[in-house]
């Protein structure tokens, strides 16, 4: 009779190189110039951010790149208390706010950190504006987040 289970630990490590595609490439180039780019659907006119080629509603081609305003409205938010490390949540010392932001003229919401505001002061509908790294490199971190106007 076996009363003890024996385990073999089998780590798997895969490395993937994912091409971002031309639309995200435009987006990242835009970030370098401190611009937020979206794409517009030639079929139904929807604008999404980050830009992509296929419309998630009408399936039209979203072939027009549009520069979006850097001010918008906070439409949803959460406070993040954790970060993931090797598949486990570790508690953060300083929780931060993540928001879903509606930029004017854009039909999709942009997720971003919301800075310079305490969670208890966050209000849905509040106006926010983008803040940037001083020196941008064409990386997602160039757009640091949004702050209340």
């Amino acid at each position: 009779m076996i009363h003890q289970t024996v385990e073999v630990v089998v780590p798997i490590s895969f490395m993937y190189k994912n091409r971002v595609g031309r639309y995200l490439q435009h987006y990242l180039n835009g970030l370098k110039e401190k611009k937020i780019l979206g794409s517009k659907c030639s079929g139904c006119g929807r604008v999404v951010v980050p830009p992509r080629s296929a419309c998630g509603r009408c399936y039209g081609v979203m072939d027009e790149l549009v520069e979006l305003p850097q001010e918008g409205k906070l439409v949803n938010w959460t406070v993040c208390y954790v970060k993931m490390e090797s598949g486990e949540f570790k508690r953060l010392e300083s929780p931060y706010v993540i928001g879903m932001i509606q930029l004017e003229g854009c039909d999709a919401l942009l997720s971003a950190k919301v800075l310079e505001v305490e969670p208890e002061n966050v209000k849905i509908g509040m106006k926010v504006k983008a803040i940037w790294k001083e020196e941008t490199t064409g990386d997602y971190t160039d757009l640091v987040g949004f702050v209340p106007l």
Binding site: V48, T78, G87, M100, D107, L110
Partner: protein
């Protein structure tokens, strides 16, 4: 003309934090037990369908190892890389083809002891935008969804989310196949550690090792195999777009559409009246009212009232997750198969302490992806007039 298809038998293991049996052994024991109960050999099973996830299994084409354990060697076999309820849909289709009369479906997931579910979930995310940015994941998205519901229906508060979790734990204790944890008090749930507010630690369904097998059969075979067939009256499966910034997380258009189509197929006009109870798949307590409402089981925005008045309790007007649902343990990927089995138990009067009174029709729901991008809805019944 469509063939009628029934579920003729099931076997499951009790959810645990760490299964002593290997996944291979679980399949072997469950499949043999089911065949024995139905007094047939594996030769009488025409096709086998696994519900599985290669990432969770830690192997690609992961069923290749499990085939002889479930008894599928030298037989027809396939796999669905999605929630296990979809394996049931697949099996139904195979029987519908006329080429098969019986199909065994199986799903075993060792989500508590074998792998880290968070790691697997994180690999659902878009690899070139969401993953490197680290803002959107299952948890933050669920927080946005809960916040959107609270914003739309102002009488729904954080403490209502805790109450839905409390109901889940409480029902699960009545289900001997659940994790059998002592239900935390409402106060303890409300004060548990925040993860992504308004979502707290105890409002997330606990991961478990668990799984089961189910046998489906065509009408003529079903009647020979069991006195208590449970019929599949309708189902539908709908995918929405990936990006949560483009979806209404409260309205859940994809789920709504899946519900509408499943009701149509089952001939249901008024789900609120015609469905006896529902087993829906939630990872977070906050999802329950949102999913139930999108399915038309309760009025929109009634989440606070439903839990306050006990309308979705086991003895309520329309019980939701009488088994405790995933709050009795979430063997990721296989949770919807437990939902299916628990619904079959109810309809056969085998649900013991969590039995609802005289159920005629059940709704089973499964979801995949961030904020239920994919939804499958299935309607089961004891038969009656058709």
């Amino acid at each position: 003309m469509k063939r009628r298809v029934a579920i003729v038998g099931y076997k499951l293991i009790k959810n645990t934090k760490a299964s002593v049996w290997t996944r291979e052994r679980i399949y072997y024991e469950l499949s043999r037990a089911l065949l024995e109960e139905l007094e047939i050999t594996r030769d009488k099973v025409d096709t086998f369908i696994f519900g599985s996830n290669d990432f969770a299994d830690g192997r690609t084409i992961s069923e290749c190892y499990l085939i002889q354990r479930i008894g599928a060697h030298m037989k027809d076999e396939s796999k669905v890389e999605q929630e296990a309820l979809n394996a049931c849909v697949y099996a139904w289709m195979r029987i519908q083809s006329g080429e098969y009369d019986t199909a065994m479906i199986g799903m075993v997931s060792l989500a508590s002891s074998q792998f880290k579910p968070l790691l697997v979930q994180n690999h659902v995310l878009d690899p070139v935008y969401e993953r490197p940015r680290g803002l959107i994941n299952y948890y933050s998205a669920a927080a946005f969804q809960a916040r959107a519901y609270m914003e739309r229906f102002k009488n729904f508060t954080e403490s209502h989310i805790a109450r839905y979790a409390e109901k889940g734990y409480r029902n699960a204790l009545k289900n001997q196949y659940s994790l059998q944890v002592i239900p935390p008090s409402l106060e303890k749930i409300e004060n548990s550690e925040p993860i992504y507010l308004p979502i707290r630690e105890l409002e997330v369904a606990p991961y478990a090792d668990g799984g089961g097998v189910v046998l489906l059969a065509s009408e003529e075979k079903a009647k020979k195999l069991t006195k208590k067939p449970v019929w599949i009256d309708g189902f539908a499966s709908i995918e929405d777009t990936y990006w949560i910034g483009e979806r209404d997380l409260v309205k859940l258009d994809g789920l709504r559409e899946a519900g509408k189509r499943a009701y149509k197929m089952a001939g249901i006009k008024n789900p609120e009246k015609e469905i006896s109870f529902a087993e829906i798949q939630t990872f977070f307590a906050s999802e329950e009212p949102i999913i139930a409402e999108a399915l038309g089981l309760f009025d929109e925005g009634s989440g606070a009232e439903v839990i306050e008045k006990g309308l979705s309790e086991i003895n309520g007007k329309l019980p939701v997750n009488p088994s405790g649902g995933s709050f009795g343990g979430n063997p990721m990927g296989g949770t919807s198969l437990l939902g299916l089995i628990n619904a079959v138990k109810q309809l056969r009067g085998e649900a013991d302490d969590f039995q609802v009174k005289n159920p005629k029709r059940a709704l089973v729901h499964a979801q995949d992806g961030v904020c239920a991008q994919q939804n499958t809805v299935m309607i089961l019944s004891t038969g009656g007039e058709k």
